[in-house]
Symmetry: C2
């Protein structure tokens, strides 16, 4: 049982959208395909992976560091003790050989893309959907297939006025989402408040709105916004300040009547641990958005979840960034609070299977062995064109 | 006045050496050449840069993100207000457009390599050695050309016994270094202590030995080593634990009678600020090794130095990792505590000009306009072959 090939490519996900920090005019993402010699019913098992939006493709480190290490390893170095399946934890150790500590970015994305493909293969070989593999291994076999999802959008587009923003949000609500999220911090505070009020007008009492500043604000701006935002019943106030500025984060959290959400730009166990140690977040109120597809994969994410246990945080506080099927399975199999979704942007990487339906703000994770990419035709088309 | 081309290449610096964390069997580094349309005496000004050892070359992010942004910018976006020279701070803002916060690694190395080449050009156009440019702009025109340097080596080699280690150290002492550094943590504690004692035997009372654990230890091992190391008059105990584990670092520092040195795996202003805020280092005793050629360049390093001021740290506590001429100029022009040097490894990137001499543990920084790479024939040969 061995890996016979690992292929990678870069795919553009550029668009006109911008948030408070960047625009996506040149954005790319990495896609990975793992081929194995495991055959069943005449078919060879393959796995697919990619990284979440926002951090660019990682061709060189994939081609020069991580893929060669996996392919050079003796097969048993990548297998579980019984030799019956691949072991993503052992594969992680192999990939990360000769990598110095610190500096967790970029390579965390490359490793995340490979890790996703590995878990896809592992679950397929086990003939189970990934959520079930995870529930059995890490959650006392408890799983809940119905996962809370919220629709992330509300980016700033050129020429996009409040009417267009509301039309966008309305499509999400019509799809069945009951929580939507928009960007703030990319225009003046008054303009952002007008956008917020326009969207709030659309919502009934079961629906809510979250806002996302993408780490743009200094302390004064973060607090000025906080004072204004607290007038509204918002689901959360996301990344008010630099994601690594734990002191600033703690100051804002200490005074915020709104839940704070952060973590999408935190890419490793030690960075996550520092956020929990120093970031002043409130375990009964705030949300953690670590995204394994940017952060050394599900292997590292499981270590982050164990660390959260040790620090008295419930896994229900986790609602990962990324909007992909990997985190949907993690949410279902490990009892997270939910998952992000991008119904309209970052296609074909955001979103779930073609037939997936949002019912009262929840989606049922697929029962397909693996992660379920085969249920997403645009995504499979992208993979087929890339490799 | 504009940049006409920015070229990059990857150069192998692999060797048999290893430290406690990685081996260098596949190590590479990026080299950069900036060409301009600035002509004087019939010669066009060019600048060279590279990244320090340990973090691999960064071809893709250079080719796809940072170089295109600089070349696409209108020329005035990269010039000082007078239009008389390039402005590395403005160039930095241009390079980092559309880059999300957090995740400071890899790209910090790519930007560092370009930044080095920019400052080389800037100083050449100013017809001054870089240390003088820096002293004038940031240090009230005070400079000290004589810079303390220590010889870093003592890696673990296959088949290398204590005799070979001592022979290596002796060559450094014969060159004029009075402080040498060896690796620890890659063999048993007893074996490391034997290595330390062997080297200490070589030293006279004006000479000293530092040890470097490369972030390998957990708390128990870091403390076990600390207890043993405190018996010796060591110059410092470097990176006892994970460089981002501020809490662990603070625990070890709180009890250490030896100076602690750290920072080579800290790659941004916010990461450095967090180290100062949470890492428990002692401003009158410990050393900071932030390396601009891995950490978004001298532009970011100047921001780090300003942050250190704000936190009551003297710049004399800074002895950067990297062993290159850029940090030699920074040390001379901004009054740092000194600079690392690698007399025998990472050639041709470690070390100084061909004619540079170590006198009583100090080296005189060159007076050549720019950073002075032209004084280092092996390095120029490498650049000429690369581009």
């Amino acid at each position: 049982m061995k890996l016979t090939a690992i292929k990678e490519a870069a795919v553009p996900i550029k668009s006109d959208i911008r948030n408070a920090f960047i625009d996506f005019s040149q954005m790319t993402t990495s896609v990975v395909k793992i081929e194995t010699d495991v055959v069943r019913a005449g078919k060879k098992f393959v796995g697919y992976g990619f990284n979440s939006n926002g951090r660019y493709a990682q061709r060189c480190s994939l081609q020069e560091r991580f893929i060669p290490r996996l392919l050079a390893a003796p097969p048993e170095a990548l297998l579980n003790d019984e030799g019956t399946n691949f072991d993503p934890f052992k594969a992680w150790d192999t990939m990360m050989k000769n990598e110095k500590p610190g500096g967790h970015g970029e390579r965390s994305v490359a490793v995340g893309a490979i890790d996703m493909a590995l878990w896809d293969v592992v679950a397929k070989i086990a003939e189970k959907p990934l959520y079930q593999v995870l529930a059995e291994r890490f959650n006392h076999n408890q799983a809940d297939r119905d996962v809370f999802v919220y629709a992330a959008g509300g980016y700033y587009y050129p020429e996009k006025d409040k009417a267009a923003l509301c039309a966008e949000m309305k499509t999400y609500l019509d799809m069945g989402y009951n929580t939507v999220k928009i960007k703030i911090g990319g225009v003046s505070l008054d303009e952002d408040l007008a956008r917020i009020e326009a969207v709030l007008e659309l919502l009934d009492s079961n629906q809510s709105l979250a806002v996302d500043a993408n780490g743009r604000f200094d302390l004064k701006t973060a607090v000025r916004y906080l004072e204004a935002l607290e007038a509204y019943p918002l689901f959360w106030y996301e990344e008010p300040c630099d994601p690594l500025d734990y002191l600033l984060n703690a100051a804002v959290s200490a005074e915020s009547r709104l839940p704070i959400a952060t973590g999408e730009n935190i890419f490793s166990l030690i960075d996550a641990k520092n956020l929990i140690r120093y970031g002043g977040l409130r375990p009964e109120k705030d949300y953690l958005q670590f995204d394994p597809a940017l952060s050394y994969g599900l292997v590292e994410y499981i270590r982050i979840l164990e660390m959260l246990n040790e620090h008295g945080w419930s896994w229900k506080r986790c609602i990962p960034h990324g909007g992909h099927q990997l985190t949907l399975h993690i949410a279902a199999g490990l009892g997270l609070g939910g998952n992000e979704s991008y119904p309209h942007v970052f296609k074909p990487f955001g979103g779930f299977g073609d037939k997936a339906e949002i019912v009262e703000g929840k989606i049922k994770v697929s029962d397909q062995p693996g992660i379920g990419f085969e249920l997403k035709s645009e995504l499979m088309e992208c993979f087929d064109q890339s490799f």
